[in-house]
Symmetry: C2
Subunit: 497 residues, 2 copies
């Protein structure tokens, strides 16, 4: 039986290596690709997608899985996890007819360009037919793959194994109840962060500073790097992590916090067991857990007093003239700026979750046929006013702002909010577990925190689903109360004094 297992692992590694090649090409496309070389990159990506699909849906994998599932006693607990999770992936891959996959890929490509153009001209009607088709395909996909309680669940489970819309509804309802009063109170506060005082920060010095910060947080630059792209992202697996950031001389905090966010993702990927790469035990546990790692480092750690106690002198050393007129409190308030915006990606962490609640509500209605695609803009704007207190003046600032739906990525947005909740719950757990942890930060030492995350999250791979992992690590079911507590404790002293 161990022969079958070894054979299975060899096949999985092949799929994994093909995936890493495609990942590198994707990174290169956004970081290096000359402007007129996109056609060739498209051909390369298409061929790799085909090879990857062939390798991942190889009938040999199904045969080996069948053999191993019939003899579970011959497998270690770890091997059983690998078989279970590989079955999940394999079924997903093979339950979708090839024509369906091709149709979705074609539609995504066309819809992406339609979206980009519709966004530029704020013309939702031109984009609506593509969205209708994507929704129809998503419902077909749900029937191929099955769902827990309602079709939309397939899309949730896809990004966060084991999660359902019903569970999310309960979590988000409680979160909203606590969050809206806090948001309203801060909005009414006369205290405002000033970000217009950050001007003329040379890019080279910004680069040096963020390199120092991310290295100190624990990112291993011997197995990764950071470059520049239009939108920051993190790509790669354990052995070679490619992060990106962007620079604006008049917005150094954006670059810094983007980089720290991506470092959170990068630390997670660098912490996955290298020897198990290619198997589910060497893979991340889903989008929500991934986002919890980026958010924890970005928010709980790097917006803290202790973090800035250590890094503020270094920041001022790099930019003495630019920061001369900025007081320590002005700097710390700018780091924790709260200001409503229509645009999710520009949002502060207090408002951010409301952007997600809006999208989750609309996705549910779309899947339940309670809302027609044509009526999306009106529904979006109404919810925006209700949740954020702002109404978009054009669809490009509203329903057209995000790229996700143009790729058929429904059920993806909730992961962002899940990640925020998980980050806060992990945060209060680790604070209790490791006394004096925040004092470490004030000394520039993040190793105890990273070590704890390594052991409790990173090294677990895909052993547990999202909810089980949270329960295991924190000793409590996932709840929004820690996120609410964290936001209250961080922002009330700054804005509600």
């Amino acid at each position: 039986m161990s022969d079958s297992y070894e054979l299975l692992v060899a096949k999985l590694k092949r799929v994994h290596v093909l995936g890493t090649v495609a990942g590198l090409l994707g990174w290169d496309e956004q970081v290096n690709l000359p402007p007129d070389s996109a056609d060739q990159r498209g051909e390369q990506m298409a061929l790799l997608a085909e090879l990857n699909h062939d390798a991942a849906s190889d009938a040999g994998i199904g045969k080996l899985l069948g053999e191993l599932e019939n003899a579970p006693a011959s497998l270690t607990v770890e091997q059983q996890v690998v078989v279970r999770e590989t079955r999940r992936d394999y079924d997903r891959m093979t339950k979708l007819p090839a024509e369906f996959v091709a149709e979705k890929a074609r539609l995504s490509s066309a819809a992406y360009h339609a979206w980009a153009e519709a966004k530029a001209t704020s013309d939702f009607a031109a984009y609506a037919p593509f969205l209708c088709k994507h929704l129809a395909l998503a419902k077909r996909e749900a029937t191929y793959l099955g769902w827990a309680d309602r079709p939309y669940d397939y899309a949730i489970d896809k990004h966060d194994p084991g999660m359902t819309a019903a569970r999310l509804t309960a979590l988000f309802t409680e979160l909203k109840a606590g969050l809206v009063p806090l948001v309203r109170a801060i909005a009414a506060s006369p205290i405002k962060a000033r970000t217009d005082i950050f001007r003329g920060f040379p890019v080279e010095a910004q680069r040096d500073f963020l390199r120092e910060v991310t290295e100190r947080l624990g990112f291993n630059y011997r197995r990764g790097r950071i470059d520049v792209s239009l939108h920051p992202f993190c790509e790669g697996s354990g052995a070679d992590i490619r992060m990106t950031t962007r620079f604006d001389a008049d917005n150094p905090l954006d670059s810094l916090f983007s980089s720290i966010h991506e470092t959170g993702h990068g630390l997670y990927e660098q912490g996955l067991p290298l020897a198990l790469q290619g198997t589910p035990l060497g893979q991340n546990a889903g989008m929500g857990i991934h986002e919890s790692q980026s958010r924890l480092w970005e928010n709980q750690v790097s917006r803290s007093r202790e973090f800035w106690a250590f890094f503020e002198p270094r920041f001022r050393e790099k930019f003495p003239a630019q920061l001369a007129a900025v007081s320590p409190e002005e700097l710390y308030l700018a780091v924790n700026e709260v200001a409503p915006t229509l645009i999710r990606v520009d949002s502060d962490e207090v408002h951010y979750n409301l952007h997600i609640l809006l999208r989750f509500e609309l996705e549910q209605r779309l899947f339940a046929d309670d809302l027609a695609v044509a009526d999306l803009p009106v529904a979006w704007n109404a919810l925006s006013q209700e949740l954020l207190g702002l109404t978009p003046t054009s669809d490009r600032q509203g329903v057209l702002q995000d790229v996700h739906w143009s790729g058929g990525a429904f059920g993806y947005f909730p992961s962002y909010c899940l990640g925020n909740m998980i980050a806060a719950q992990l945060w209060f757990t680790v604070l209790k577990t490791l006394p004096g942890l925040e004092d470490d930060f004030a000394k520039g030492d993040f190793s105890r925190l990273l070590g704890w995350l390594r052991t409790n999250i990173h090294e677990q791979g895909r052993r547990y689903d999202t909810l089980a992992l949270v329960l295991n690590v924190t000793g409590e079911e996932l709840t929004p109360k820690y996120l609410l507590r964290y936001l209250q404790e961080r922002y009330a002293p700054l804005y509600l004094k």
Copy 2:
């Protein structure tokens, strides 16, 4: 029949796309790869090599070739070229048993590391067993593939289609007869270039200057880029060309001329017919022709008075302080420095060919069993003294200096010298064909030269073999007399006045 042809082309494009992916990974390895990520890159490259070999030796290609070869009348002249050249590639690919290919790959990997270590410690004896094995494999490879007149010819033909050792011997003998007296005379000249006066050239300004130069020569940065690596190289095919250079604040001419050399390669690849990519008509005509393009731009064009008439003011504008004490004649002499060195890659263009003659002589003796591997260092040193007037004091400066043999790349060195001869012969042809061409250079206009190369060389792809292409374009059989004339006309006025 056209169906079979289309099917063949589709299969060739697949091989091509896989090759471009491997090429990009190779570029990334030398430009971006984090230091501890080499293992994963090795796995990626190995898988791509396997996929590439499978695709290129696909029995379907052999079947289609057979069909098309049986009905040549149904094919256009271009299609016949594609079938002929594809047959050449396919036979090369399929005549080698898989075990042989694997054995050579394993040996090359081991021999590379053995070479690097032996070079570091100047310990030829430790490397000799690997070289013996490579030589034995090369002889086996020759028997698999066949040869014209003697086994060594297979290695020559591999890099320069149609070329033989006998033909090279005739060419090189004539070259040597003319070159040695010129070299001796220059060595005896009291006039010496001063390169020690180039100090403190900031890298950013060097980068700007070489970008301006290479763009003006015609490199299309919308389909390519230039980055930094330890050893300069050029990688990629028409749609996406990646060049590299290196920077030394105290040696700006090295970076500039390396970049121009790679630009010559890049211009050739950018000039190959994009629509025919993947077929032999979209591929370069061999190593010698490729090198002729890099050498022509590097030497005939960019070491000329006219080139510097245009670029010297721009160079001085970028580096006013650094060049203040350097007179125009000192600058031009430095650009055309001649000084013997033991190291091929550091050699000026006058001595360069003697380094190749040395290697060609030794490779012939090795293949003819006239020389044992153990006796290589002594033979190398004797030839070095005879040709260059210098004897290595250690093998790392002699027989261990080049990486090529550690990969079993015999028959490769002669292409460098072939390239120099071809460049000079093309040069005198184009000067005759396009009157006043050098005056263009003095105005910073290189478009007539590039247009001529595009039409006569680049757009021909692999339509002709090396010698036929030279004959077609220049109206004359390949001869070393133009290289000798060029060197005489360029260097005698500088050193023998």
